[in-house]
Symmetry: C2
Subunit: 282 residues, 2 copies
């Protein structure tokens, strides 16, 4: 027997996985142990720094409840959520790329007819969203579902403001017509900060980073026989496109929101047009 030493610490811990009955758990924990020990050797934390880390990790869990998931937020700001999204959604270049789901999706948004308005208040700048859902060869997919959600003009989702916004405000599900076309009305989304009142917000500030996400509309697009895609459309020109707090931006998802100025009879409004391309399910 040899005792625990700094040089062989990872190997000593790894050897204890020899009786692990679960092959996948053994594979995962082996990677965790190797990287954790390598990181500690690189950083050489003092005992005080280690206690600071223990306190931080504890607080992240204790900030979580039914409405708040601070560990997902930590995964988001370290780019881990986007990396896992990328690994699980490798697609050909022509397909619409995926991005993070985020914490504000709600199952069962109302099914609405094409052309309906998902805004249930009179706030915000009017917006028309339109486009087509296509297959790999550019052919229309009829009956594809688009599940859509976005923030209010104040930068909050309905579920964050149950007393101030009507339920299901700025959420809806639409189906493409026989030509693969969808269109609906909404308001122009705005950039907004992720929650900063917890330990993850403090870490973000400590690292000299801002908490903003560039303005976007969320989409989950699905159709029988195709792979679903969870994605956003980002507003071209937004000041946070290069520094999204959660790293969600991909070039192909940045689209112009075109302003149509107020005219004699009509108020100003925006239009955005985008075709989504799905891959055939494998």
């Amino acid at each position: 027997m040899t005792g625990f030493t700094e040089d062989t610490s990872a190997e000593t811990v790894l050897a204890r996985l020899s009786e692990c009955p679960d092959g996948r758990l053994s594979e995962v924990m082996s990677s965790v142990i190797r990287h954790l020990h390598a990181m500690v050797k690189e950083v050489e934390p003092t005992q005080e720094e280690w206690m600071t880390a223990i306190r931080f990790l504890t607080e992240v869990g204790q900030m979580c409840d039914e409405r708040r998931q601070e560990w997902i937020l930590l995964s988001d700001i370290l780019g881990v959520s986007m990396l896992i999204d990328a690994i699980n959604n490798r697609k050909p270049a022509m397909a619409t790329p995926s991005t993070v789901l985020g914490p504000f999706h709600v199952e069962g948004a109302p099914e609405l007819p094409l052309g309906a308005n998902i805004s249930r208040t009179d706030k915000g700048e009017p917006l028309l969203v339109s486009g087509r859902v296509l297959d790999e060869a550019g052919r229309a997919i009829a009956g594809a579902e688009l599940d859509i959600w976005q923030t209010s003009p104040d930068g909050f989702y309905d579920v964050q403001q149950p007393d101030e916004q009507p339920a299901m405000n700025l959420r809806g599900r639409f189906r493409t017509d026989k030509d693969g076309v969808f269109h609906f009305r909404s308001i122009k989304p705005c950039s907004y900060p992720i929650p900063t009142d917890g330990p993850v917000g403090k870490l973000l500030t400590g690292m000299g980073r801002h908490p903003y996400r560039p303005a976007h509309i969320h989409f989950i697009i699905s159709a029988d026989g195709y792979e679903s895609v969870t994605t956003h459309l980002f507003v071209e020109g937004d000041e946070y496109l290069d520094s999204d707090a959660v790293f969600g931006v991909k070039d192909a998802l940045i689209v112009p929101f075109v302003l149509h100025p107020a005219d004699d009879g009509a108020e100003a409004y925006y239009t955005v047009e985008n075709d989504f391309r799905l891959c055939t399910a494998s």
Copy 2:
């Protein structure tokens, strides 16, 4: 601008540290980000596995309260606590090696005269502990303090059983005499499981590991002009010496606990003798 990709994920996140005002935080987070992304790329977690990890990490924090620190326990069973201890306590070969403090040290244990018994009940097998505290050259250190604690014969520390054990049971502080000698009475310690009713216990079981620590007595030894050492003495022959759940064992800390069988007039008892060697403070 280029968007987030699987290949460049770590570099994209690292680039955001450029405005970090705290050099040490930047160094630590840079190592965290690099190893975290490398680990995710190695493991390629599914979205479901990632959610399992998020739930586990959340539960570890939510298991913590004033009496329980599940994150330290996780650090312990992954060998991280021992690695940080090793990094912060590099000593010459002749010095008594350190090992983990553990969660059960209590400040202000009673100061007792040499020869006193730290057991405040009549349970357990009697033990005499003795030895010397020496410097690097093997010279006696007079007036060195030994802060000592251990479990009851049932495998619990007094603070774990406030209703069943007297306060400060099996705790005491002693000072070496002019020849550097200490001696006190106690009971033979026993091996015991770390807490298994939380997420860390489930992980340990999932990895096919047992939760036991080999029997030991804790010591913090300090003297003016010398570096303090936090360590254990382990009972030679204990069945868990090769598989301590928290990796605390070092060869130099395993010592024989010698049985002296019952005689006509006297009950059986154990003796253990060990000299500790401190380094001069730098």
